[in-house]
């Protein structure tokens, strides 16, 4: 293995870590603003110009807070759970190509903005993101708090529900592409978007993505009206911050994967170069995350199981069947 390759990979990792950690903070600002405007409020306004420095204030507050571990909590597991949340979110990004290939200006060094182009990219991303559900599970079990325990129980319900859909909804588009590598999937969509051929799979994947990132219609784990903050009830300071970073990093991963698999990825869009096109798509998906959070109510745990197992799974199977028949006929 060449030295330059190792150095390049390390630089990529550092860039991804820093960029997405920062983006997690900035996204909280935009989420608060978007939610506020949708609910006829103002959101953060006082810290810095139009409240932009609120992110810094919140960050300083989180990172300098006292690190509290509850008395009867299972200490090592309690302490390691947030790390799982953040780590799995960032590990999942290893197989995601964020931008098209580009050459560094004034040199002929070609950079591929993906840490590792493995040939099972989608499978890897989905698998690692699902592993991230261990974080709320362990956090809730270790916290010695009834709300946390309920949050942990709901984690299990959630993972049992959405995990069916993520896989089955992706099989149909993957059958068309014939590869699990996200770069292959992206290159396949040159000139058209897979969502045109797989609208049902797209909707189901979005639903599964919302459940996977614990976003609002399916944020059973936190559900502040019912179980305080669920698994994160006992967390504060930097450990809670790691959960938050993990959640927002997961949002970005889901947004990138959705854009790559269904919305044409980083292929050029009319006059828009591919790199900007995928960023616009991701911004649109992230905005939709916030939009949905402002508009829609939560579902109950039994409703999400009902939805995933009784409605979406048969639908996904029918979708796969029809896709298979069409592929065979062509």
């Amino acid at each position: 293995m060449e030295v330059s390759y190792i150095i390049e990979t390390i630089i990529k990792i550092i860039v991804i870590l820093t960029v997405f950690s920062a983006l997690a903070g900035i996204t909280t600002y935009f989420e608060r603003k978007v939610l506020a405007f949708m609910q006829r409020r103002l959101g953060p306004t006082h810290v810095g110009p139009v409240g932009l420095l609120q992110v810094a204030a919140d960050g300083i507050k989180l990172f300098t807070k006292e690190d509290i571990v509850p008395q009867n909590a299972v200490k090592p597991i309690f302490m390691i759970a947030p790390v799982i949340a953040a780590a799995s979110a960032f590990i999942a990004m290893a197989a995601v190509p964020f931008l098209p290939e580009f050459t560094i200006p004034f040199t002929d060094y070609v950079v591929r903005p993906i840490v590792s182009d493995i040939n099972v990219g989608v499978l890897f991303v989905m698998g690692v993101m699902a592993t991230g559900m261990y974080a709320p599970l362990l956090a809730g079990m270790a916290s010695n708090n009834k709300w946390s325990l309920l949050g942990a129980a709901r984690t299990v319900i959630q993972i049992l529900s959405f995990e069916v859909i993520t896989g089955l909804s992706l099989i149909a588009p993957l059958m068309m592409v014939g590869s699990l590598s996200l770069i292959d999937i992206n290159n396949y969509q040159d000139g058209f978007w897979l969502v045109v051929f797989q609208p049902v799979a797209f909707v189901m994947f979005m639903i599964a993505g919302y459940a996977e990132t614990n976003r609002t219609p399916f944020d059973l784990l936190e559900h502040e009206a019912e179980i305080i903050t669920g698994y994160a009830t006992e967390y504060s300071g930097i450990r809670w911050g790691l959960f938050a970073i993990g959640e927002y990093a997961n949002m970005f991963t889901v947004a990138f994967v959705t854009a790559l698999v269904f919305l044409g990825g980083f292929n050029d869009l009319w006059f828009i170069p591919g790199g900007i096109a995928i960023i616009l798509k991701v911004i649109a998906i992230i905005f939709f995350f916030m939009w949905v959070r402002a508009a829609w109510p939560h579902v109950r745990p039994d409703q999400i199981m009902w939805l995933c197992w009784k409605v979406l799974m048969p639908l996904a199977l029918v979708n796969i069947l029809i896709t298979g028949l069409v592929i065979m006929a062509i």
Partner: protein, 206 residues
């Protein structure tokens, strides 16, 4: 015999209507129909549109930027007490009757009186423990001289409990009184605007 019809009518208005809740379906086919109806009714998208419409409206915020903007409060709002001065003499209107101390359900008023040089009762000390006061307004209501009223000043925060007791802060300051700015009647326990019309002659005048 009294007619209780109007009292027993619990409807808010004539066009009060009940929301009809569908029976829970038991048949498989009915359940399926309900799922389909709910799925394709588009209510979710109505919700999305409503919040988006509110987002893109300009100047749509309902937020009051509190320290910079304040809402007007009702003239009957019961905020910090005020002790009035008599318009004629500038003396405190309080005659030291002690009714407010008796009626106070939070036991926060303490009044201390003595005989003055002219043989009249004068108030030696009057304290309201504002940290304990529940702002019920009984003191203002019971006061025969309308000496103690509730004002409009609700921003009485302090780091020290001692700041919540002194009478000197409650009595209208002399400079404001001399400038004729003591607002006599807008607070709680006030006379009505047409109070003069309601005055009747005392029996002695007949």
């Amino acid at each position: 015999m009294m007619d209780f019809t109007n009292y027993n009518n619990r409807n808010v208005s004539a066009d009060y209507k009940y929301i009809e809740i569908d029976e829970t379906p038991t048949l498989w086919s009915d359940k399926f129909k309900r799922v389909m109806k709910r799925t394709f009714k588009g209510e979710l998208f109505v919700g999305l549109w409503v919040v988006f419409r509110e987002m893109i409206k300009r100047g749509n915020s309902h937020t009051i930027l509190y320290p910079l903007e304040k809402l007007p409060i009702s003239p009957r709002y019961r905020a910090l007490h005020e002790i009035k001065r008599l318009v004629e003499s500038g003396n405190q209107a309080c005659i030291g009757c002690g009714l407010c101390e008796k009626i106070c359900i939070a036991n926060c008023i303490q009044i201390d009186t003595k005989y003055g040089s002219k043989g009249r009762k004068v108030v030696r000390g009057y304290t309201i423990n504002l940290g304990r006061c529940i702002y019920c307004g009984y003191c203002a209501e019971v006061c025969p001289e309308l000496a103690i009223t509730h004002g409009q000043d609700y921003e009485n925060v302090s780091e020290q409990r001692a700041h919540f007791t002194s009478m000197s802060e409650l009595v209208t300051p002399m400079d404001i009184f001399k400038a004729g700015k003591q607002e006599q009647y807008p607070g709680f326990g006030a006379l009505s605007d047409n109070a003069d019309d309601n005055v009747k002659k005392t029996p002695l005048a007949y």
